[in-house]
Symmetry: C2
Subunit: 165 residues, 2 copies
DNA sequence: CTTGGAGTGTCAACAAGGCTGACGTACTGT
DNA sequence: ACAGTACGTCAGCCTTGTTGACACTCCAAG
């Protein structure tokens, strides 16, 4: 791509280039959510259910407050989603051991199965995109995304990563 | 960066790495929309208005059908948004010259002003992210995003780019 | 041991922004 | 003349977000 003019090469950023980036982000995000959305549409679920399932799977035993913090929605909004998932037997809510006010959330076997279906679909696309673009592009992709998050989001993301590792 | 093991280096993609990419995409998209969302919230507008304004500004004189195709929503949904924008004097709708069934959409002066405010906010963040990540990362970022779009989306994006150039 | 505050659940009401279905009007191209 | 296209609109529904209010449980500090 002609970045042969030194390591700290000049970064000309015309409004036109930035707008292309903005539009690429918009269209790519639509693609990114399209596959799980199609699966969810066949059930009575939406993207909000997917997010809840994803992060409960990510950090099993997480509390409601923690989830609220990650997702950035109101508890009423989350609770509506959570209730249907519990009723449908995808999520279990256990009273906390140390602090009995807290609820620790877990996916049931059925919940794990749905999570797998959804994230498989998403990973297929992500994997294909990574493969097409190549490893260096992937590293750059990740760096730009990290830089684009809000600071608090990056913190939450890091927290998740540490706990998961 | 350790990409010194050849051009077509192996691309190990563990599920863990892919999940990190998925979460990064989620958090980054939230950051990406946060700034314009804050501005829109002060008026009676939402993200849907932003999208309409953006693409009308992008391709002035575009038709309703064209916009529907780009945005991927129903005409009822778009029309609700478009109507308020026209009523508020941000968008003008002119009967087509060659084909009088068509409506050509344009931003008014006021509409251009709002578009500038919104995209300025978005560009500031994008520019900062690009600067933090560096030019090579930006190229990679764009490559992965392109690969992540649906094929039709890529087509639309290209069409827009060609027309704009 | 009481009491403030945190964590949680829930009711009610509302808004944005998607959707489907149906219908009407104006216009084009065959 | 007529079928089909482009557009607008009415009505109704869903998901997912919001605010506000209230109740309950429980931990911790005074």
């Amino acid at each position: 791509m002609g970045d042969s003019y030194g390591g700290e090469s000049l970064l000309f950023l015309t409004d036109e280039q930035l707008r292309q980036g903005i539009e690429a982000m918009y269209f790519a995000y639509r693609g990114f959510t399209a596959d799980p959305d199609r699966i969810l549409a066949t059930m009575a679920y939406g993207r909000a259910h997917h997010r809840a399932i994803h992060f409960i799977n990510r950090a099993p035993g997480t509390t409601v407050t923690n989830l609220l913090d990650i997702l950035g929605v109101t508890k009423q909004s989350l609770n509506r989603v959570l209730r249907t998932l519990i009723e449908d037997g995808l999520v279990e809510s256990h009273v906390g051991k140390t602090d009995k006010r807290e609820r620790n959330l877990f996916l049931t076997e059925e919940g794990v199965a749905l999570e797998a279906r959804l994230s498989d679909a998403q990973r297929v696309r992500m994997r294909a995109a990574y493969r097409d673009a190549g490893p260096e592009a992937v590293a750059g992709f990740r760096r730009v995304l990290e830089a684009m998050m809000d600071t608090e989001m990056r913190r939450k993301n890091d927290t998740l990563r540490d706990r998961g590792a």
